[in-house]
Symmetry: none
Subunit: 200 residues, 4 copies
DNA sequence: CATGAATGAGAGTTCATTCAT
DNA sequence: TATGAATGAACTCTCATTCAT
């Protein structure tokens, strides 16, 4: 079983951390996640700090740029999503595991309105996030696709990263006013069906 | 007494309009279209007014709310897109016409970054736009789907409006940094393939 | 008599100007002059706008960058100082005119705490101000020095711009707490005496 | 029990001091000197603490107010400057010693951008620094002036403190962008020449 | 009707200073 | 004592919107 590193700190080397600082950091991540889900990633910095019960200065200490906070929030759950793949693969046949994990991935996306935009923004500040996405989620899907093919399922030749981006796009606006949460799932299933279709 | 051309005003009640006012309105729509394509629908009002060569006051006279302008811009090209369907239906067999029109629709979407967001925003200000979308584009797709089914093609039972929304989402972020313009098309084709897949 | 152009507008071509805008601009220049004299050129933008009785937006409309405002304020009085030279030259013999004008120049400097700093900051935003200084004040002093030399006075070979900068420096901090206003004048007179000294 | 060296503390009452505290204090003074020279006396407190390798709390412990640190830094080198006078007086005739010491004083000023401002700020926090200046540097110049006069040189009747302030002002902005380091020296020499001029 | 000047709320960001660890 | 995390006031700047001209 591979180790599942958890990277939830803004920098790579915060060796030790004062207990109160750690608490603030957690509160910030949690507050940011909530605010991002409710108001998008462009929500005022102050709103996040207020929700976390800290001053704005504390937010800036931990996350000098907005992109740092966005990246940290998204990375936390990306990790969980990657971890889930292992469990799903262990419990279901390859073809079914593929669909199940994609649906698990859509759950991750549900409250990540700005993820796709961040990934495609071209802003170098998001390069680490995009890299992380490519390094963790994309290989996961590639593995699932390969397993399904080996089990005999006919699967279109698609770029895994591109496909994940498409799924992210399809989930865009889900959970929004007037849209059934089932909407996104139906469309994602359509895309998955297209993946198995015989002609390209 | 000046001539009194009747024009389609931003509100639903066509009214008498001075020739110069009409020119300003056209210039504003054109400028807004360009700015929206370049900088998104949240672009500063001033930028649009400047490009149109009018004062911001004039913009506000014609479009009191930003949503009025966005709606007006998008409606213009929705009309063109609907019109195109008729031509395509006359030139191609139903099944092919379906794909061709969807791709024509993606072209319409190409520079309409904010369309999907506007449609799903839940903001009542966009209700007229959503209504227009439902009244014009959705029936067009329904007609094409029905024709294809009648011609013997097996097509999934999907909600036309939902499908159009999904396509719009897939086109989100196309033409953005680091994304091939072919990306969106590939994913849309996958969705179309899913539409014909035998299981749901 | 040469024409005495008055350049007190932020840009070079504000052909016509609405009466109220003109009033606001004047109020801003006056307020800025007062605030600069009292609190230095780094005084909060808000303080200047408040004193002028306008919103900050109005200040930013007329002077997008702080340096624009500083330059405008200083240019107005540089012009007056240059003009004064003509009158002084007409009324006094060259040698005396030189001293009298330098003392007039120190009066100009009295409330211009940030002038020298701005001129020497190296910030390209102040290049226009430095250019204006070089184009107007420096030639004025050069002319006065030359006249004095022609009238038979022995004068050190100094760079006029450098000398003006030195006088500006000597006036730095004058009118400050605990310093007699005569202090600067005494030191400037010492410098002027050095100008006539026989050895370098 | 550790040795208890007696050190000159920031306050006027020398006290017992732990060895590590003494080291921190030295590091802070050195760091502050460097930062002041590079970025002026308004440089962020954090920058100084970082350079000294201590926490900001330590800085505040030793120097509760910024003025305390500034004063301490400047006093150190004032002392050296005063000491230098003795050597110069021993090696050169009075008239030459005067010039040489003033030039030595300008060297001291070279990296003390904020000295003149601090002395003239009127802020009571700088009163001790101003007093120190008056108690050490001013008498030094007075002594040099008196020696020169006794040796037969005709010297203007100037206030020594005022003259030192003028020299400090003349050195303001030296080493800045676009200004030759020789600029200040030329102007100081002009002032010294004025000191010997026969009329006032 | 058109203009664009004015307004001012609101967002981002920095940094002096305090104080829990 | 030393540390540096936290705080929040203060500042800059932008832009949607109004309204005098």
């Amino acid at each position: 079983m591979p180790s599942v590193p958890t990277a939830e700190s803004p920098s790579d080397a915060p060796r030790v951390m004062r207990a109160d600082a750690r608490q603030n950091l957690d509160a910030l991540l949690e507050a940011a996640k909530t605010e991002f889900a409710a108001s998008g990633v462009d929500t005022p910095v102050r709103a996040i700090a207020d929700r976390a019960g800290v001053g704005v200065g504390t937010l800036y200490r931990h996350f000098p740029r907005r992109s740092d906070l966005i990246s940290a929030v998204f990375r936390r759950e990306m990790d969980a999503c990657v971890t889930a793949a292992t469990e799903i693969e262990a419990s279901f046949p390859p073809d079914e595991a593929l669909d199940r994990w994609i649906l698990r991935y859509t759950e991750f996306l549900a409250t990540k309105q700005g993820l796709a935009a961040a990934l495609h923004s071209g802003d170098p500040a998001y390069a680490p996030l995009a890299d992380y996405f490519s390094a963790r989620l994309t290989p996961t899907l590639e593995r699932l696709l390969e397993s399904a093919r080996r089990s005999g399922v006919r699967i279109q030749d698609v770029d895994a990263g591109e496909f994940l981006g498409a799924v992210a796009n399809l989930c865009h606006g889900a959970e929004q006013h007037g849209r059934s949460p089932a909407h996104a799932e139906r469309m994602v299933r359509l895309l998955l069906a297209g993946l198995r279709a015989s002609d390209g």
